[in-house]
Symmetry: C2
Amino acid sequence: MMKNSFKSVIPETTLRRMVYYIRCLNSFKKEGVELIQSEDIAKKCGVKSSIVRKDLSYFGEFGVRGKGYDVASLLDTINGIIKTFGQMNAILVGAGKLGSAIIKHSSENFNVKIVAAFDKDKRKVNKIIEETRIYPLSEIEGIVREKKVKIAIIAIPPSDVQSVVDILVKAGIKAILSLALIPINVPDDVEVSFVDVLSEVEFLFYKLSLRRNR
Amino acid sequence: MMKNSFKSVIPETTLRRMVYYIRCLNSFKKEGVELIQSEDIAKKCGVKSSIVRKDLSYFGEFGVRGKGYDVASLLDTINGIIKTFGQMNAILVGAGKLGSAIIKHSSENFNVKIVAAFDKDKRKVNKIIEETRIYPLSEIEGIVREKKVKIAIIAIPPSDVQSVVDILVKAGIKAILSLALIPINVPDDVEVSFVDVLSEVEFLFYKLSLRRNR
DNA sequence: TTGCTCTTGTTATCACAATCACATAGTATA
DNA sequence: TATACTATGTGATTGTGATAACAAGAGCAA
């Protein structure tokens, strides 16, 4: 069996930073910049240049020593490895305030596209937010299969989370981003991550509080 | 000079988990549970019991071997160390969809309270969202000083970020949570962290994409 | 070709976090 | 009081990521 050219295990932290690097590269490309150095990316992303080089090295050797990286070909190569090709379709469950804000946010961001939203509240069904239609939960499975969506964002009350997750998993969703902070049970092949503004704020409070105690 | 009882350097990851533990303890307390074991906290927070014990041990010895932890006294002790005492006041800059969603979210969560919101759009000024009034940016400094707020959440377009951050720092804010993903310049004594739903989604895409390549 | 400059790619080291395994110290029972 | 039992607290180990420092490679000029 042939091995891929890039290292098979890429650190999570590297993958997280790749998001910024790629945005940064796209922005350089748009500005017409053709050649850049690790230092340029580093400054724009707020990290050290040695980290940028190390991160890129997990994927292969793309630069020219003494010169730097060719923006266009670096982008092409990375896009060839991480096969998203710019367009990333996801669905959203929960079209409350937070959910709507995410739809709006994504409509302004060309990368992630919310192709369908779902809500259990019948009054919200069939409404359209920024070109995204809201469907009843019963249509999750059909739409996920039809559009071959692999990622779901859930912005629903904690009490509804596990039952919705079960529907999503059954429908074939392979990664879930939850905005509610309760543990989720999924099969091993489903990725889960959490984002919560308020617990991040609490964390900052703790940090400040302990800092003063030192 | 007297040293505190707890270790002076508590890992970031531990501090992040403390947020969950404390929520979990409060929930146990509300249910009337008086005695718990590390295993109970672990299950509820989705981590391993050995991590719970290790995390707590950074703050001191609170448990009774063979028995477990007394919920009330554990909460009291931790609250005595992390001096937030339940109420955590913060301000919010940017009262768009995302900002409003955060205000609503925090009004449902008893821990973090948004005491004032700010927006540069004059049409939004003086509106009230869930009991939180919106002020013009010019009033940031006065209100921050008056209410002694130390933490700010910013939900504004990237292009406005640095100028608002400068105002916040000048006003005495000591921690900033930004929902826009661009680097921020602050003095060393100001903590900064970032939360962005869409880049987390992109990260998940990358992860799935690479997984299939293995 | 040689030598100089520049920036990459990588190695070696350090720092930090997760995990395990068990000694320890308490409870409960007879 | 002795014995069994239980869950904590922690030292040792492993694993992972960040950092620094430098060798290697490419361009360029004389």
